[in-house]
Symmetry: C2
Subunit: 346 residues, 2 copies
DNA sequence: GTTAGCACTCTTTATCATCGACTGCTAACA
DNA sequence: TGTTAGCAGTCGATGATAAAGAGTGCTAAC
């Protein structure tokens, strides 16, 4: 059987209606709302077909139809295609100019949550190619060394290191020189065992100390997923959707949002799976890919990039019957905002 | 009327039972469980008295009694007294040695939540008297200055500052000298307008730059409540208690845990209200003090101190019928752990 | 002072009939 | 052949009613 135009219209009507109400939709409703002038009986026949083809299903005999995963998938894909061509309207979301990136992201995720009425998350950006600009050692107290690492994009990281015996000024200067000579300009990957070995040889008597420092540097450089910041908002929106608010499911979901660990993995997974999409907008339906343990949920994600290779993920989690059109649009607007704010700058 | 011994036993039995079940408790239950060999009828008479005295109340005519706020207060206070004398048993909570304080706190709050089955929060520590140990300026790129501020307790803060024109090495050195001379050893309060004015005079041609730097320093020093980190865990435990899991209340509470802003205020308020209690353990009943908008909740808080004046707040939020005994005990154990870990060190 | 017993209240739970929203099928129609 | 009207049948939702259960207050007796 073929999915002809009329079937498509009916399918879309069913889905839209279901998204809006959360209730199974019956043939009469469609007959009235689809725009087609067909009687409910005809619709019923078509619906029979659609069910047979697997796009919709019936929770129980005397109920209307709800979209199946295949149906959702079809719908989401067709929206995704449309919105590529659509110019996102300029909405006047007032993202007040904020001083810190962190605050900006917090603000963004909040707006997204309020705007969509779903749970939203944003990952802090991670440098894809994190290069050391320079590093600096100083000595706050006799047996402590402060390591300051400045990376491309002015990312600053510090670490306190204990050392056995105090260094005098000259030693400190030499150490700084030595480290900068070999490490400045290098990315994480370029700190090879060979390089480390060389450095240790050059270090001479300071061998142990240099080794400790190198460990600290490597640790700081590992912008590992574990260290990624995740900001969330609107987790409790989940409670608004009956199909998710059964105590058990809601608990799991909201916990995931609170503890963040799961979200980190999720972000990691999303980051890995690159597509050629412009902002890499992807829709995962419950059970697929990164959200296997989130039944009945949908996850919409997009990647953002702030220039200089700073990249992160933004996402919205809601029930399967989420208003995809709206969510995709909201995300688009967010992306545009970010592009505008950071495209111009620097 | 007087609260004689028998009344106290009955009252405690009522409360304990209510805490365990969440259901109003009737006279027969008490007759069986109180340990007193009295018939339910006698108990009923006593309960009448207790109700008249305001310690308990009846949700509706044909129901048992539940503790009133006055009842809770009585109960909590009596526990608090007891547990002062009690040696906290050593429980073998495995707080794995963690490298970062942040992780330790996260671990702690998680344990507390799991252990008590309520929602738990811990605030990151804040230096009560935050003194600058030294500060350092360096120049990562021609028009950027990196300000590094090292405070007592090895708290390190950094800030990137833009400057109009590049400084040469000597200027940078002088600037560092100037700033350290006047600021090192000072606490936030000691950076007075007078001091600032003096500094600006000494700065001479670098006046503008020094002003910018000073602003940054002051900003970094303000360990304002807004910048306090808050770690939470177990927010969804709230859903386990019927009296809180009505969508509306649960939503509010869990949101508070997610967005953290409210919690920050709460912590601020708790911090302000000092008592002479050893760990400053306090129980707030729903509506009292910092949790006015959290009806039907109780908040148990304690202060912790990590030496060097690093202080923070730890707390548990649950329904009014929370198992105070257990919570207070768990918190006690946490405090002991912290004391042990940080008392020995340094 | 304590207790047994009874009448009364009020919530909870179960049961049952009714209603309404659907579907699927058949037969008629264009 | 595609479309439609109509009807029987299914199943969940709703609401009313009854029965059960838990508790109290009061009174009278011990």
């Amino acid at each position: 059987m073929e999915l002809d135009n009329r079937k498509i219209i009916i399918l879309k009507t069913i889905i839209k209606n279901y998204l809006a109400t959360g209730e199974p939709v019956g043939s009469r409703t469609i007959s009235k709302e689809s725009g087609l002038s067909l009687s409910s009986a005809t619709i019923r026949n078509e619906m029979s077909d659609l069910e047979e083809m697997g796009y919709i299903l019936q929770p129980h005999t005397s109920a209307g139809r709800i979209p199946s995963d295949k149906g959702y998938r079809f719908y989401v894909d067709s929206i995704l295609q449309e919105s590529d061509n659509r110019v996102s309207e300029v909405t006047d979301i007032m993202l007040k100019r904020v001083d810190k990136l962190e605050n900006l992201l917090k603000q963004m995720v909040k707006i997204l949550a309020v705007d969509t009425n779903y749970a939203a998350l944003v990952s802090g950006p991670v440098l894809s190619e994190n290069k050391i600009r320079y590093l600096q050692l100083s000595q706050p107290s006799p047996v402590k060394l402060l390591l300051i690492l400045v990376c491309e994009g002015n990312i600053i990281k510090t670490e306190l290191i204990s050392c056995k015996k105090p260094l005098d000024t000259e030693e400190l200067l030499n150490l700084n020189l030595l480290l900068n000579n070999s490490l400045a300009g290098r990315s994480f990957k370029e700190i090879t065992p060979k390089l480390i070995a060389e450095l240790l040889v050059q270090a001479g008597s300071q061998r142990n100390l240099v080794s400790t420092i190198l460990n600290a540097v490597v640790e700081l450089m590992e912008t590992g997923e574990e260290s990624r910041d995740i900001y969330t908002s609107g987790a409790t929106n989940i409670l608004k959707y009956p199909e998710l608010s059964e105590t058990d499911k809601a608990q799991k979901l909201i916990s995931a949002f609170e503890e963040k660990d799961e979200l980190k993995e999720l972000v990691a997974e999303v980051t890995r799976s690159e597509t050629d999409n412009s902002h890499n907008v992807t829709v995962y339906l419950g059970g697929e890919g990164p959200i296997q343990n989130m039944q009945d949920c949908s996850l919409v994600t997009a990647n953002y990039e702030l220039g200089e290779g700073l990249r992160g993920v933004i996402g919205v989690i809601g029930p399967k019957r989420m208003d995809y059109e709206k969510v995709l649009h909201s995300m688009q607007v967010m992306m545009d905002q970010l592009d505008r704010m950071f495209g111009k700058e620097e």
